[in-house]
Symmetry: C2
Subunit: 356 residues, 2 copies
């Protein structure tokens, strides 16, 4: 009796999960009676309900998610595909997604594309075969470069909801969540100028990443708006993962500027360090503002004024948009319309800029 529940093993007792069928057999009723009894259906006698529920509690019955998914054609899982998890911004977005999703009873399956097109495609296909109800993703660098979005198109054509964030494309019709990069860069630059700086340099990345170019736009527009010339010589383009300082050192020696806008924290911190090493005071001689308000900004010396991107909020919004689509998908009532949400960033003022 009950030997489905306890089965002896070499050194360990295994209490396998029990199913409706087990309960039914043990209590000598039908599976459907058990199912209804557990749902407190009033088709079932009080007596039977109590018996069944007691037994279920005793053996800690929990319905099998997979079976339910198969039946409902909904998994309550959402797939997240990001280029890199060891990256503060993506991590915070992920956290926002995870929190919101969890509140709504969804689990999150993450895949990392590692900035590779192929991995992105493989991961998407893997998850699209029934494992998830919808996708949230930021495109890999390679995907952006190749401009090939067939994998996204396939997924949306299958009716699987998709939300793109941060690294998006116009080629695909879907919900999107964006940072107001241009506006943020504009504001930061204007902030530097209004505090009395007249020669604002820009430290940005080589190659045209979507993000950097928007920030550059904002920088340029701010200069113009404030009646200053755009000095091309004050724009320094650095390799993404550069190690030696020679480039920037030369820049400091040869150019005259009194403020720098940097498209990320790292450039800013390295810039400040170099400047200080060369005898400049920060912010008196040169002010700095960076993007991505992470640990580096907070603990640099001096601490770095930085554009906070509210990744967590972004993730929550993305998850909200996705889950809305997923659940209305089920109603099939009204036709789709896609939104693009902009998450405002804000400037966190610290020591690397003087008060206006």
């Amino acid at each position: 009796m009950l030997n489905f529940i306890r089965r002896d093993r070499p050194r360990q007792v295994v209490k396998k999960k029990i199913t409706l069928k087990h309960i039914a057999r043990e209590l000598d009723v039908s599976i459907s009676t058990v199912s209804k009894a557990l749902k407190n259906s009033d088709e079932i006698s009080q007596d039977t309900k109590e018996k069944v529920q007691a037994f279920a509690r005793l053996y800690n019955y929990k319905p099998n998610n997979i079976a339910i998914s198969l039946k409902n054609k909904r998994t309550k899982n959402i797939g997240v595909i990001i280029p890199d998890i060891v990256h503060h911004f993506f991590t915070t977005v992920f956290r926002g997604i995870e929190q919101y999703a969890n509140e709504k009873g969804y689990n999150v399956i993450v895949c990392v594309s590692d900035e590779s097109f192929d991995k992105e495609v493989i991961n998407m296909e893997m998850l699209a075969n029934g494992s998830i109800d919808g996708f949230i993703m930021a495109l890999s660098a390679e995907t952006q470069k190749r401009n090939d979005f067939n994998h996204l198109r396939e997924v949306t054509e299958q009716g699987i909801p998709l939300v793109l964030f941060d690294r998006v494309t116009d080629e695909i019709d879907c919900d999107k969540v964006l940072i107001d990069d241009e506006q943020a860069a504009f504001d930061a630059t204007a902030r530097l100028i209004r505090s009395g700086k007249r020669h604002v340099a820009l430290f940005t990345t080589e190659g045209y990443l979507n993000v950097s170019s928007k920030r550059e736009q904002g920088y340029r527009k701010a200069l113009v708006a404030e009646g200053l010339p755009v000095e091309e010589a004050l724009i320094l383009r650095l390799p993404y993962q550069f190690e030696e300082e020679s480039l920037s050192e030369a820049f400091f020696r040869e150019r005259r500027f009194d403020a720098v806008l940097c498209v990320n924290e790292i450039f800013a911190v390295r810039g400040m360090r170099l400047a200080q090493g060369m005898g400049y005071r920060v912010p008196e001689d040169i002010s700095f503002i960076g993007f991505t308000d992470g640990l580096l900004s907070r603990y640099a010396s001096p601490s770095l004024t930085s554009v906070a991107q509210h990744g967590e909020r972004m993730g929550a919004v993305a998850a909200e948009m996705l889950i809305e689509k997923v659940e209305q998908e089920y109603d099939e009532t009204d036709r789709k319309s896609y939104r693009t949400e902009i998450i405002p960033s804000s400037l966190v003022e610290r020591e690397s800029t003087a008060l206006g």
Copy 2:
């Protein structure tokens, strides 16, 4: 004809995923014939196989993961539960897990416990109901404090493989992966002493986190081993998330020391900054070594000598152990035995320590 494949929608054509049943109906054969044909079974005539395979390719047939999971009782998903994703160390471990798992054809479902016992329990239960084949996790702070591990016990009793990493407990019999915290602290301290320092302070956290206390052990043992006294006055215990510097400032004023071992990057960077602000030179007057070799260590001024914990390796090892168990679980052959793996850390030497 074929109207299961294209169904008109308001403004969008939806190509729903097709199933074996669809193919069978369309080609007027049975489902099992289709199934076998797709597997290239030699029970099926070349002719039929080609017809079926062509059709499947055309309509991009992919088997439904959920159905397969239900059938096989294996999901090819692994559940990861960590206290916090916005934390460099956990993030790197996660990356290691994700990479290895992906190589082996597994997906990763992450849940964040947020250092909360309840969330940890809820997430585990959620995933344990069939969604995953095994768990990899680091215990939440609250769980460690409460010393309540029934949720882990339940899971292992159900025969679900579990691997604990970093934040583990002796109460549960399972595979474990650990950092050699004590040894690392020992080595770091010894390294400071051998470079000529005689009064090594320790900046650690208040309250007894497993991790910090092991590091403290190593620190103490190293002093003893090198024939130096343990000066209790040189051990500074700071709140986990402290903001004002008053505590440490007083410490710098009142104590005499020429080196500091810090249990994390942040304490080290803040310590260095304070020291420099008070006129000390780093490393000449005071050397610093931190734990967790992240961005802060690399970009601090001076850059910080730091204990690298190789989280990625740790994650890969954990995933390897888990998947091994998951797959042998299936054989049911030999009995379980659990291992504990130690991942060696290493010291990354930078500017905050002088050469021995």
